[in-house]
Amino acid sequence: MLRFSLTLGVLALVAASPVAAEIARIKQSSGIALVERNAQRLKAAPGLQLLAGDRLVTGKDGRMSLTFIDNTRFAVGPNSQVSVSEFQYDRTRQKGSFVTKVDRGSLAIVSGRIAKSDRDAMKVRTPNSLLGVRGTKFIVAVPK
């Protein structure tokens, strides 16, 4: 019965976004940590599946961490606004493109397979710069 209702829940999620595919999953969160998707605001609970275009928002004490399907890992710090504006990944060929916008706050990134697949296949945009990620671990900070 429990399984049945869980399945229904998943079906409802799928129905709400028929063409969208999972790109990442929330691992942990604390404080105010939300995922904005169009008009929806979802609590960034562990296991929540992200879609391309999602916006990660944290409050004063908020944090969240997530892992993408190409193995890229994110940690979002407090007072942040981060959008995954573009994410395409071919699991079979292990190639894709990935653009993240850091409008405010801080983001730690350990890049994954997309960054390795082609030069500057992974980019990070801040209000005053555009970065091409060439396989590494780094922090981008955008103070208010």
């Binding site: 869980l6 998943v10 999972e22 999953r25 929330i26 691992k27 942990q28 609970a45 562990p46 296991g47 929540l48 944090r63 969240m64 961490s65 997530l66 892992t67 399907i69 193995n71 890992r73 994110f74 940690a75 979002v76 710090g77 407090p78 699991r91 079979t92 850091v102 801080s106 730690a108 350990v110 890049s111 994954g112 500057d120 980019k123 801040t126 209000p127 005053n128 710069s129 555009l130 970065l131 091409g132 990620v133 060439r134 396989g135 590494t136 671990k137 780094f138 922090i139 981008v140 900070a141 955008v142 103070p143 208010k144």
Partner: protein
């Protein structure tokens, strides 16, 4: 000259609130990658930051990396790094020729696979089945999918929800050890399980 200095200081103050920065670190295996600054302050640059443990102010015409020095990371930066999820972990399971039966050694790997998934918060499990080149391509597509399904079904029987898992079969298209057609090869008869 003084006036000019003041003007610059004022500009820095005004935009100071929006000066983004980059801290570049070696990865967990100790390798040093790089970040290219493709645009800065609205203009293209060809700066490539490749110095590990460095800080770079972004938005200037020519971004330059400075060593973190003895102060190291700021407190909130160090705290942020501790929030990063653990790296993805991959398991390989091997099968008897033409079957969905695990080899005895691989059956023992299942325990550590289960523990790895159970230890993670919000886990995602990707199961990818493969075959060797014995048999036709269509049969091997089916067999590789059945192998992946076998592992997924076992994981589900251990209490992991199917919504966290996905299974695909890649037949004989991604050989671990390249061989001619119709070659019995134990290393190619495998399922890879990636735990994120």
């Amino acid at each position: 000259m003084i006036r000019r200095g003041v003007a610059i200081a004022a500009a820095v103050l005004l935009s100071g609130c929006a000066t983004s920065s980059l801290v570049l670190l070696p990865d967990d295996e100790g390798h040093q990658g790089a970040v290219a600054v493709l645009e800065s302050g609205g203009a293209p640059t060809d700066a490539v930051i490749a110095e590990g443990n460095s800080r770079t102010k972004l938005g200037t015409k020519t971004p330059v990396a400075k060593p973190l020095g003895s102060n190291g990371l700021k407190k909130q930066e160090a705290a942020l790094l501790t929030v990063l999820p653990p790296p993805a972990k991959s398991f390989l399971l091997y099968f008897e020729q033409g079957t969905t039966t695990l080899t005895p050694q691989s059956a023992m790997v299942l325990t550590s696979l289960r523990q790895e998934i159970a230890s993670r918060s919000g886990p995602e499990v990707e199961v990818i089945g493969h075959t060797d080149t014995v048999g036709g391509e269509d049969d091997n597509d089916r067999l590789s999918m059945n192998r992946a399904e076998e592992v997924l079904t076992w994981l589900a029987s251990q209490g992991f929800d199917r919504s966290m898992m996905s299974a695909v079969g890649r037949g004989e298209r991604q050989l671990m050890q390249p061989t001619l057609d119709n070659v019995d090869n134990p290393a190619n008869r495998r399922v890879e399980v990636i735990v994120r």
